[in-house]
Amino acid sequence: MAWSRSSEAGPERPVMVPVELHQASVTRSSLETLGQATLLAQELETSVLAVVLGPETSTVASTVTQQGAQRLLFCPSDSGATVGAGGFAELLAEVAERFRPSGILMAATPWGQERAARLATRLHLGLASSVTAWNLGEDGKLEVSRPVYGGRLVEQVEFDRQEIPFLTLRPGLFPVAEGLGNGRAETVKLDLPPTTARTASLVETILRSENERPLAEASVVVSGGAGMGGPEGFRVLEELAEAVGAAVGASRAAVDSGWTEPERQVGQTGTVVSPDLYIACGISGAVQHRAGIRTSRFIVAINIDPQAPIFRFADVGIVGDLFQVVPALTAELKQRRVHT
């Protein structure tokens, strides 16, 4: 690439964070990413440049500065929605040409991953995706951890001193802190040519049911497996999920049997989750499922089979009929909520 890291460090070589918007606000995962970018920028002794594909709004500006961005660039002429990944790569490559960032961070959401991959290719930068931990060594090497083999193993990769790290961060893992920024950020103006990249058009958004919380960033997940015995089994889980504000997940077995939607699948070929609490009901605990829940902070398993592998990978387990245990748990939790 045209520039490398170690040559002129300083505030002119910011850590760049293309920010994701959802319904005109900054997504939580982008806030997490900005927070990490601020920490990295501090260690690199530089600043954070947040790039928003969209019109300048004060709410976005203030949110982003609270996370530590010192400079904001809005690209109002092409809003993110119409530009597509190809256009995104074009625009951000232009920005990168001008600012020559010392690093690029994005959230590893579907939106972020597909754009990061395209941009990294365009800039010919190495990309580490779905990063779960990072560390800047004294030698200037950036070491980064990320899950591989479907989550069964973790690799540590290193960007050398002069290499520009491009990372996407696992959503839901890093904290959103307050007050990282000093509240004053400079808005940068930049004239960007219109994009020529060919793009797909978003023609329809299918909202999921209101009660359906998204899995990827949920802090509590309640999941059902082969033990559900059928689609009706999931109702019991949905009641528990409602009681604790959890997202509902499923093992591949339950999805393959047609008992619940594929969007709920947790595991190697589904969603990888990092909740604070994961409750596995009637799930035996196959390797592929475990890979998807490994970074959960606390795992509870409920299964009628005392030999189910899941019990060895849970923090605590209940051996019993989930159709009795789960309703009892729901009832007890509802009662406690009433009292607190």
Binding site: G86, R118, L127, Y149, L202, I318, Q324, V325
Partner: protein, 255 residues
């Protein structure tokens, strides 16, 4: 219509993986290779497109460092028409950027109408080659698709994609790249006839010279701790629930 399906072979996705101390690769002995499940989803969608009435030539394309006969066979048995195997010397790694460049060079002269691939491969889990190919070949991309349909003119594709809070439907002119996640239909089982016919389908193999490594570089591979305390509670449901919730450091502290 010409559809190229990018195909990768990965270690058995249902196996527990071990890493010998100091090794940068998982221990391979006894590990069966399988087709990357996401690539199987992509191939299934290509086959469904053809089943729905579009005449299509479906070509498997793969970059390998080891024998891939079985995976390739499976793809051909499922219904692909032919395969192109690009072979790197055994033991050479190929970073996503490098893979992308090699595949793009191979794909360009073939002028496909569609490029289908899995959203990620269950080995490096990078999810980069798809968008990377779209960038290098200057194509529109639709990522994370569960289902794709091409209209009667054969010039436009419509794909429903999975997103965290909603489904999103995209359309695009052809040529286009689409990456797939698990869809509604499970990849088909080849029939006996399919299996016996697969051996006759053309497979073209080409040797590729390895390129330089690209950052970042793997410096360690770890098998994270999987087993946990595993304390089990038995007894009547109400009692079990009582026990579960009475531990102040247990489940309740995470609610």
């Amino acid at each position: 219509m010409r559809i190229i399906v990018c195909f990768k072979q990965v270690p058995d996705t249902s196996a527990r993986l071990r890493v010998e101390p100091g090794s940068l690769e998982p221990h391979r002995a006894g590990l069966l290779p399988v087709v990357n499940p996401y690539d199987e989803f992509a191939l299934e969608e290509a086959l469904r497109l053809r089943d729905s009435g579009h005449e299509a030539e479906i070509i498997l394309l793969t970059l390998v460092t080891e024998p891939v006969d079985e995976s390739l066979f499976h793809g051909l048995a499922m219904g692909a028409d032919r395969a192109i195997v690009l072979r790197l010397p055994a033991g050479t790694a190929s970073a996503p950027l490098v893979t992308t460049r090699i595949l793009a060079a191979e794909i360009e002269p073939l002028r496909p109408d569609l490029i289908f691939c899995g959203e990620r491969a269950v080995d490096d889990d990078a999810a980069q080659v798809g968008p990377g190919l779209a960038e290098m070949l200057n194509l529109p991309q639709i990522c994370g698709a569960e289902r794709a349909e091409v209209d009667e003119t054969g010039r436009m594709i419509r794909a429903r994609c999975r997103r965290p809070s909603a489904g999103e439907v995209f359309t695009s002119d052809l040529p286009c790249l689409v990456s797939f996640v698990r869809g509604e239909s499970l990849p088909r089982y080849p029939s006996l006839d399919d299996v016996f016919n697969a051996g006759d389908k053309p497979v073209e193999t080409r040797e590729i010279t390895p390129a330089d490594a690209e950052p970042p570089q793997r410096v360690a591979l770890l098998a994270p701790r999987e087993t946990r305390a595993g304390r089990t509670i038995e007894g009547e449901p109400e009692d079990a629930v009582e026990q579960l919730l009475s531990d102040p450091d247990g489940m309740v502290s995470f609610l």
